[in-house]
């Protein structure tokens, strides 16, 4: 298992990593009429000074945008840094599609499946 590149969204309530190949930052001038938007602020909070950005998530049959005030960065997560979710906290994190946790040098990043995260948010998980 090699390194996993993730787009990391770090807000005041935590950091979530989405596989970089499945998501992308939407340019400010890129109009995407008809694409539903989901606000991530209730889940992640915001990062001081961060710009409000839109993250495109391409699902199997549609696209969704996640709107966030979190800090955005691309991280390369080494295989050795990826861990299973501790059993006690599984029920909470499973609700938002998190199946692994990455321990980076100065962060803990919850690795979420984008489709599961979107489904959870649309279902009112946050």
């Amino acid at each position: 298992m090699g390194a996993l590149d993730v787009l990391c969204l770090a807000g005041s309530r935590g950091a979530i990593g989405l596989a970089a190949g499945s998501v992308g930052v939407v340019d400010e001038d890129e109009a995407r009429p008809g694409v539903p938007a989901i606000d991530l602020a209730p889940l992640l909070g915001s990062a001081p000074g961060a710009e409000r950005r839109r993250i495109r998530v391409d699902l199997r049959d549609r696209a969704v945008e996640l709107v966030t005030d979190a800090d955005l960065s691309v991280l390369s997560i080494a295989a050795a840094s990826r861990h299973a979710v501790p059993r006690w906290i599984e029920p909470f994190l499973a609700r938002i599609g998190v199946a692994e946790i990455a321990l980076a040098d100065d962060a803990v990043v919850l690795l979420a499946d984008p489709a599961a995260l979107v489904a959870a948010l649309e279902g009112g998980a946050a």
């Binding site: 935590g14 979530i16 861990h83 501790p86 006690w88 029920p91 609700r95 938002i96």
Partner: protein, 161 residues
């Protein structure tokens, strides 16, 4: 991460407990579950969890959830603790058949051994979830009355938010 709180050997027929304080109540944790007492050096917030989940830290190279014991037991009012505020507090790392968790406490008071004569059914000590989760009341010479909890049952009860 320092200060190992290794359980002491107990007399035959008695049970060893690690005494901790949480929101003014003395809680007795069966020392068979206590692996270590550690000062929290880092704590990272985790979304979609109740307020008593302070976050996750790294312990022995793996993620470890940190649970604020007093609020999780619903022991009276207190300030909501931000994850950054957990830094410098003490956590008792507990291991049960199912879980490995850090219980964040206000203080650790030491290990006592309690035999049948010091142990009775729980009655009036504490509040919150203790009537439901307290399994014994222990009269300790140094810390007065303490409520022993079933750690696995407690972790089960607060796992579903």
């Amino acid at each position: 991460m320092d200060d190992r709180g290794s359980p002491s050997a107990s007399d035959a027929g008695s049970v060893a407990y690690l005494l901790v304080r949480a929101r003014g109540v003395t809680i007795a944790l069966p020392s068979e579950h206590a692996i270590e007492v550690a000062e929290i050096e880092r704590c990272y917030p985790v979304p979609a969890t109740p307020a008593y989940v302070l976050g996750i830290t790294s312990w022995r190279g793996a993620p470890l959830p940190l649970v604020d014991l007093g609020p999780a037991l619903d022991l009276g009012e207190g300030p909501r603790q931000a994850p950054a505020g957990a830094v410098g507090r003490r956590a008792v790392i507990v291991s049960t058949a199912s879980y490995l968790v850090g219980l964040v406490v206000d203080a650790t008071l030491g290990v006592v051994a309690a035999g049948a004569s010091e142990t009775r059914a729980p009655s009036v000590v504490g509040g919150g979830r203790l009537p439901e989760l307290g399994v014994a009341e222990i009269d300790t010479p140094r810390a007065g009355l303490a409520v022993a909890i079933d750690v696995e049952a407690f972790l089960d009860a607060v796992r579903v938010g």
